[in-house]
């Protein structure tokens, strides 16, 4: 990989090229994985076209597009609070619960075939997981996104606005679920297994309450 500008420098240049664009650098918990750029839905197309056309970047190849499901969750945090109890001020630890809203995410890995560098990772987020699940499609910018965005639409239910042919690609058109979502429940067609364990064991006990078949 050639030396490329840092994400901070890139963010400044993106905001100069697409005025008003909100770009957030999302760190990745693992040291080996590079951080990514979170784009806002309004300026995605302009930013994507800048990334493809800019002479120093020329990110002409979207190698991979994938989806991530982030369900709603409550995060427990320990917070140190100063409390005065009986005239003595003390530092007390309090557990606070915070709810984070759920959303769906599309992640794009971009490389440059011309300049042999990359990846630059983009993230697009939907507003929620239920009814506002649209993000702009990047297929008009990178043609290789077409089937992968269809797959994300199929398995995660993200609607890509501006996609030329947004249909299910793996499941049949009558199918209404999104199997890769965390809250997906597969049709219950359990059958006997000789050594059930974990989730399968729970299923086996539900189907054979008196004990698993021998």
């Amino acid at each position: 990989m050639n030396s490329m500008e840092t994400l901070e420098q890139l963010k400044v240049r993106i905001q100069a090229a697409a005025p008003g664009a909100q770009v957030e650098i999302v760190p990745n918990g693992c040291a080996a994985s590079p951080p990514s750029l979170l784009l806002d839905r309004g300026h995605t197309r302009a930013v994507a076209e800048f990334l493809r056309e800019d002479a120093a970047l020329r990110l002409d190849y979207a190698s991979n597009v994938t989806g991530v499901d982030w369900p709603e969750k409550t995060v427990k945090e320990k917070v140190k609070v100063r409390k005065s109890a009986g005239g003595v001020e003390k530092e007390v630890e309090e557990v606070r619960e915070r709810k984070t809203p759920g959303y769906l995410e599309a992640v794009y890995h971009l490389y440059s075939m011309a300049l042999k560098h990359g990846p630059v990772i983009l993230r697009l987020r939907t507003e929620n997981r239920a009814d506002k699940v649209a993000v702009p499609s990047l297929t008009p910018v990178w043609r290789s996104c077409e089937f992968q965005e269809r797959e994300i639409f199929d398995l995660y239910g993200i609607v890509f606005e501006g996609h030329p042919d947004l249909r299910r690609i793996l499941m049949w058109p009558e199918f209404t679920d999104h199997p890769m979502r965390k809250d997906y429940v597969a049709p219950d067609d359990y059958e006997y297994e000789p050594t059930p364990h974990d989730a399968v064991l729970a299923k086996a006990q539900r189907h054979y309450p008196g004990g698993t078949p021998a």
């Binding site: 199918f175 679920d177 067609d189 059958e191 006997y192 008196g210």
Partner: protein
């Protein structure tokens, strides 16, 4: 029926005795034409079986037919996804009687490594009657040949009259398997209850 000892004695003297049923089954079992049809990696082993090294032609089954109308045997070689299952059943229905099915590999038998998945059928025997199951992932060509020999034995033992005659000789037996429809969450129905039922509980403690 002719006595077995007399028959051996006659054949020593150059007199061949047979029955119409035996002659008919002998002809059928040595010209089983498979449907040219593969679903996943097991199909590669099936192709290897048809090539010179393993040579399925030794058993008279080398004529892989591209049309179900000309085929006697369906080798379900590979993973049957739920999206593909109606087409497999439709192909089976289009084959003329008498017809046979070999389920090749663990995917075709039970879903195999994908059994816990949402998109793979847990065994083709939920929709069509299977004559021979071959375990293996994928089974070696020898295993497919063994399955073919098992099927040949089965054909040779089929009687053409009486209660044990095969279903295609019974006028009242249904000629086709119902084709499952694509539902909102799963195939509808999830199995053909006339052919397959979930295994009952065998022991309680």
């Amino acid at each position: 029926m002719i006595d077995e000892g007399l028959r051996t004695e006659l054949s020593r003297q150059g007199v061949v005795t047979t029955t119409l049923e035996e002659l008919y089954n002998w002809g059928r079992k040595n010209s089983v034409w498979p449907l040219n049809f593969g679903l996943a990696c097991c199909a590669i082993e099936m192709i290897a079986t048809s090539m010179a090294r393993f040579d399925i032609a030794r058993f008279g089954a080398e004529v892989f037919r591209p049309s179900p109308r000309q085929a006697d045997l369906m080798i379900v070689a590979g993973t049957v996804t739920k999206k593909m299952a109606p087409q497999v059943v439709r192909l089976y229905n289009q084959m003329p009687e008498p017809k046979y099915v070999i389920a090749m590999g663990v995917c075709a038998i039970s879903g195999g490594p994908f059994k816990e998945g949402y998109n793979v059928l847990k065994g083709i025997d939920r929709y069509i009657p299977v004559d021979v199951h071959i375990p293996g992932c994928p089974p070696r060509p020898e295993a497919l040949l063994q399955a073919l020999m098992t099927l040949q034995d089965k054909i040779a033992r089929q009687s053409l009259t009486g209660d044990k005659r095969p279903p295609h000789l019974k006028a009242e037996a249904p000629g086709e398997c119902p084709i499952p429809a694509f539902g909102k969450h799963d195939l509808e129905p999830p199995n053909n209850p006339a052919l397959w039922q979930p295994p009952p509980m065998m022991r309680t403690e």
